[in-house]
């Protein structure tokens, strides 16, 4: 290396080509550090903590038996279906507080459709999806058009939709509850098995008969099979994860939440992204509602209360940033699983369930602090 002396200063250092890169100068990150930088890391460590906790205090209670675990997953699945769309919206920098009311409304559309309008069940379910997705798109349109925070816009729709659900149902049926939505006329409809019941029942019965899982006195397995809701939960989470990480649209979701202006400058159709995500959030609310109605056979104006907040809790625990631009769909799955585990675990350990909300609140606070730390780590120049 020949140092060219320009005669200006003795310690003049000339930056050689390629040496100006700081990125390569960084020490190679350890595997642990890389894993810790994933958005899901907080939720996974939270989940491990929760399981260690309940294994210590509830190991003999049957919580970790086949039916205990299935109960946990069932609770998690219902919330998880909502949490997926909540986290996508949150990554795009938006909230949808109307999903709880949407759950009630969609269920009542199915109920009224079947019992009052005499619709076949598949048609009523389809009507519920079409109506609520149209409302979801309208939510998105309002947010895009008015440029108001989605928090306010959907807070309004949360009340409007809940009020509509109660008022119209009472007007049409005189009650706030609709029973016999699934009845002897439609209980064999394909939509019933599409949204409720269990899969692999034969296999589980086989396991029970061979003593792998418990068997009831009447000779049936304690766990009949995999509840369909869990399959929906996994499928929709997998789909959302694929969209988020492996499609252009996923890239646009991140960009919309990260900096809508910058995204727009790069040609991302920000408004379209937002409207589509609000529509998707209405879709998951209706999926949740359909599962509930077909499982229980009835619709109720009180369904879905506080689900909007539980969804946000699962998404935040799952590592999605409230400010947008960062997060994961898989994370919301872990968030929902923590939720389900604690709820069922408290029942098995005999801890007063009044403490459930206290625990949730603390969990959210910890998750937000952790996410904030991760965000700072990710954006600081190293």
């Amino acid at each position: 290396m020949s140092e060219t002396n320009t005669g200006l200063a003795k310690d003049l250092k000339i930056t050689k080509k390629g040496a100006g890169s700081d990125a390569k100068r960084m020490a190679k990150q350890s595997l642990f550090a890389r894993i810790m930088h994933r958005p899901e890391s907080g939720a996974v460590s939270g989940l491990i903590f929760v399981y260690v906790f309940f294994m210590m205090f509830a190991s003999g209670s049957g919580m970790f038996s086949a039916d205990g675990l299935m109960n946990i997953f069932k609770v998690a699945a219902e919330l998880g279906i909502l949490a997926v769309s909540v986290s996508l919206l949150m990554i795009a920098g938006e909230f949808d507080l109307s999903i709880g009311s949407m759950v009630a409304l969609a269920g009542l559309i199915i109920g009224v459709g079947v019992t009052k309008l005499g619709m076949p069940l598949p048609l009523a379910v389809m009507l519920a999806f079409v109506c609520s997705m149209a409302i979801g798109a309208f939510n998105g349109y309002l947010v895009v058009r008015t440029k108001l925070p989605s928090f306010i816009v959907t807070l309004a729709s949360m009340f409007i939709l809940r009020g509509l659900a109660v008022a119209v149902t009472r007007l049409l049926t005189g009650k706030t509850q609709i029973s016999y939505v699934v009845n002897e006329l439609n209980q064999n409809s394909f939509v019933v098995s599409l949204f409720s019941g269990h899969l692999f029942t034969g296999f589980f019965q086989y396991l029970a008969e061979h003593g792998v899982i418990g068997i009831r006195d009447d000779g049936l397995a304690v766990v009949q099979g995999i509840p369909v809701s869990i399959v929906w939960w996994f499928a929709i989470t997998a789909l959302a994860t694929w969209v988020l990480l492996r499609t252009s649209f996923g890239n646009w979701i991140f960009a919309t939440g990260g900096d809508a202006n910058a995204a727009r400058n790069m040609g991302v159709p920000v408004s379209k992204v937002r409207i589509m995500l609000f529509t998707f959030s209405a879709l998951t609310a209706t999926l949740f509602a359909t599962i509930q109605v077909l499982e229980s056979g009835s619709a109720d104006t009180l369904r879905g209360i506080q689900k909007e907040f539980e969804g946000i809790i699962a998404a935040v625990i799952g590592g999605s940033l409230l400010t947008g631009g960062y997060g994961s769909a898989v994370g919301s799955m872990f968030g929902a699983l923590i939720f389900g585990t604690v709820q069922i675990g408290m029942f098995y350990t005999g801890i007063d369930t009044d403490w459930f909300k206290v625990f949730l609140g603390v969990m959210v606070l910890l998750a937000v602090l952790f996410n904030d730390y991760i965000r700072k780590m990710a954006t600081s120049s190293r």
Partner: protein, 259 residues
């Protein structure tokens, strides 16, 4: 040589304020044309006219000798005029690759299996960054981890890759330290050697002079002269920029200060 972009006698007014008053300006392929001027000289307005954000009140814009009207930045972009604004249109929480291809993601497959070709995008990003002189260890790392200079480099590499004929850089060195700024000057030099016409906006003559081929000095919305490097010295540019005040004599009174 035909300029890649040319402004002829452009005037831009905002109400009664005259932001640009009959400015002519052009860039040829493979040259760095520095646009110098103090705050309020009209630099920002000029680049906004060049990039299609503003439309001139009078005067014409020609691209490759052909008169054009940019209705939006998108129009300018499709003519190959890429502007790197100070905010860089970067998302710090997203990966280098995702930023590089934002809005123009390469896909493979079709129909329902149409997907973001992450592998190809990563490879292109790494290669393009390498070409400009930045070695990135992992194209999946967040842009937030890059230094200011490297982010400028990424923005320049991105514009170049997507076929920019003209690269407009708005104060790319202003927020950077000495080392980072010199890196950006190297990226500019690299873009020039690729045959791109670069408009380099700055108020720092120390950054402009080493890399510039021509210098246009703006003052109060007017073009006070365009000079080839051979025709003007650094101090002369400074003299014009300071509005005729003798900066060196001013500085002599302040020992230890160098511009």
């Amino acid at each position: 040589m035909v300029p890649v972009i040319e402004l002829a006698d452009v005037r831009k007014t905002f109400g009664s304020v005259i932001a640009l008053d009959g400015v002519s300006f052009d860039v040829k392929p493979g040259e760095v044309h520095c646009l110098l001027g103090d705050n309020g000289a009209g630099k920002s307005t000029l680049i906004k006219v060049l990039s299609g954000v503003h439309q001139p009140s009078q005067g014409t814009i020609r691209v490759g000798g052909k008169e054009v009207l940019f209705k939006s930045p998108r129009d300018a972009y499709s003519e190959g005029i890429a502007t790197v604004f100070q905010d860089l249109a970067m998302l710090p929480l997203m990966s280098i690759t995702r930023n590089f291809f934002l809005g123009r993601e390469p896909t493979k497959g079709r129909g329902l299996t149409k997907r973001f070709d992450v592998k190809r995008a990563d490879d292109i990003t790494r290669a393009e960054m390498e070409r400009i002189g930045i070695d990135i260890r992992d194209p999946g790392q967040a842009v937030g981890t890059l230094s200011g200079g490297e982010r400028q480099g990424l923005a320049i590499a991105r514009a170049t890759y997507f076929g920019a004929k003209v690269l407009i850089l708005d104060e790319p060195t202003s927020a950077l330290g000495v080392h980072q700024a010199s890196m950006v000057l190297k990226y500019i030099d690299k873009a020039r050697s690729d045959g791109i016409g670069v408009v380099f906006i700055t108020h720092n003559i120390n950054h402009a002079y080493p890399v510039g081929d021509r210098f246009t000095l703006l003052n109060r919305g007017r073009n006070t002269g365009t000079y080839k490097k051979a025709d003007i010295t650094r101090d002369e540019i400074l003299f014009v920029m300071a509005g005729g005040e003798d900066v060196s004599s001013l500085l002599e009174k302040m020992p230890g200060v160098e511009v």
